[in-house]
């Protein structure tokens, strides 16, 4: 790790003022950044600790919730309102990492964590366009069991590793950021950008901007939602495929459906066309199978991850059938 200085910000304004250029980096709990610094992938010389800021989970006048960016993953998953009203968010967080890491990790840091593509981390031995633009991608043609099948490009097939963000995508969360130019709010489904030719650019944040909170819209009545994660072991592993799903069923027909996929794309993958295909139909297996095919219609696989297309379809169907069964 290169030499660096450490300072603790006292407010978001103080943090922004201290951030004086590319050599500076905001520090959450460090559960990903410390690793990236040890590997020489992140090389800040000035760390500005923002973990003490934005600690609250507050109900909003519109019935929604505002979660501070500094709140720990554990505090979000344990929150009684979130467990009752946004269960897919609680479930997604509990499906990720370990209790020790969830106790440390912040909401803002979780959103901004980097891919766990092993070629991205292998500085000495592998080419990576995300780490060194223009260098090439050794995951393509390499060991790519964990890699993406939707929204990927010829430059990069890495996935976004967050479980939490997949649930935030399902709930149409909005990310509030502060910067030199003031504050702005970005829907999470617009926040991450696809790799294209520039996989080093992962989201809409400008240099020096700080995530301060995440807003969840007011919960919808009768909406059932959950999160299911499929991985190579039962716990403490990144997703091969995960699905955050939701249904509202009235008079035997689906009136609202939500599907967001994890483990298959460079961002939480909201399957809007598949959702639209469900609405107005009865909540039966045929409806869900049709939607699952639509969700994966544009999949582009590698030899190592060709199984993900079928697996993702099966998990979508299973999640929606569970939700439909719960509603009976």
């Amino acid at each position: 790790m290169n030499p660096l200085t450490y300072e603790k910000a006292t407010s978001s304004a103080d943090a922004l003022e201290r951030h004086d250029g590319d050599a500076a980096k905001f520090l959450g709990a460090g559960t990903n950044l410390v690793d990236l610094m040890r590997e020489g992938i992140a090389t800040p010389t000035r760390l500005i600790d923002v973990t003490g800021l934005a600690q609250g989970i507050e109900e909003q006048s519109d019935g929604g919730l505002r979660i501070g960016a500094g709140v720990s993953n554990t505090a979000v998953a344990d929150d009684t309102t979130i467990r009752a009203e946004y269960p897919a968010l609680s479930r997604a967080i509990l499906a990720g990492a370990s209790a020790q890491i969830r106790n440390m990790a912040t909401v803002g840091g979780n959103i901004l964590q980097r891919t766990r593509c092993s070629y991205f981390y292998d500085v000495a031995g592998s080419r990576c366009n995300k780490r060194t633009p223009g260098e090439g991608c050794d995951a393509i043609g390499g060991f790519n069991r964990a890699h993406g099948i939707l929204g990927v490009s010829d430059s990069c097939i890495a996935t976004h590793p967050s479980d939490m963000s997949v649930a935030l995508s399902l709930y149409d969360a909005v990310i509030n950021v502060e910067g030199d130019q003031g504050t702005r709010s970005i829907p999470i489904n617009d926040f991450y950008v696809l790799p294209g030719d520039t996989p080093d650019i992962e989201n809409q944040l400008n240099p020096g901007e700080l995530i301060v909170s995440v807003d969840l819209p007011a919960p919808s009545a009768n909406r059932r939602a959950t999160y299911r994660k499929v991985r190579d072991r039962a716990s403490y592993a990144f997703a091969l495929v995960s699905v955050a799903g939701s249904l509202i069923i009235e008079d035997g027909l689906v009136v609202d459906a939500g599907i967001s996929l994890g483990g298959v794309a460079p961002k939480p993958w909201r399957a809007t066309e598949a959702e639209a295909a469900i609405v107005g139909s009865p909540p039966i297996e045929e409806t869900f199978r049709n939607a699952a095919q639509i969700a994966l219609a544009d999949a582009t696989t590698q030899p190592g991850n060709v199984f993900k297309t079928e697996l993702a379809q099966r998990v979508i169907v299973a999640v929606l059938q569970d939700l439909a069964g719960d509603a009976q």
């Binding site: 790790m1 030499p3 660096l4 200085t5 450490y6 603790k8 520090l27 709990a29 460090g30 559960t31 410390v34 690793d35 610094m37 040890r38 760390l47 600790d49 973990t51 554990t74 998953a77 344990d78 467990r83 009752a84 269960p87 609680s90 479930r91 509990l94 499906a95 990492a97 370990s98 209790a99 020790q100 890491i101 106790n103 440390m104 039962a234 716990s235 403490y236």
Partner: protein
């Protein structure tokens, strides 16, 4: 900049790159917390900070100014073992012992997490306090790897410590 470790105050290191684990092991000669993977994958470095378990290998010591840390060296009462330490002995919850300090710190934290009703990935109903089961303990210990295969003894020890209904 001071940190309390097992009720003793220490000055934090000037170099912000030093992890809490390296600070304890290399500077304070507290060798109980182990450096297994040093990248957050094994749990051998698990300690409590203000009662909550964290991974000290991923924690920059400088971030823990003013906090209170408990390590495996701080859980016994003199020569009297902590109840969970004694249960690990009784249930043969170790072979090589390398993961044991982290397992015990996790087990201690796990009990208080259950007592406050925190759900886990295997809890069936998020709206009620989780029902104690062997599956709950296994899930909650998944961040601590044991490569000897002492898992069943570890789970037996933690289950006895946590108490409650068994499946």
């Amino acid at each position: 900049m001071t940190i309390e470790i097992n009720n003793q105050p220490y000055d934090l290191p000037d170099d912000a790159r030093i992890s809490l684990l390296d600070f304890m092991r290399e500077r304070l000669e507290l060798f109980g917390s182990k450096k297994g993977c040093n990248q957050g994958a094994c749990g051998a470095c698990t300690v409590l900070v203000d009662g909550e378990r964290i991974l000290s290998c991923l924690a920059l010591a400088a971030q823990y100014d003013g906090r209170s840390v408990t390590t495996i060296e701080g859980v016994a009462n003199g020569d009297e073992l902590h109840p969970l330490q004694a249960l690990f002995v009784e249930n043969e919850g170790m072979q090589c012992g390398y993961c044991t300090p982290g397992q015990i710190m996790s087990g201690i934290a796990l009990k208080s997490e259950l007592e406050r009703g925190a759900p886990s990935n295997v809890s069936a109903d998020l709206t009620v306090a989780p029902r104690m089961s062997r599956d709950e303990i296994k899930e909650r210990l998944s961040g601590n790897l044991c490569r000897c295969g002492a898992h069943n003894g570890i789970i037996d020890a933690v289950a006895a410590y946590v108490g409650g209904e068994e499946q």
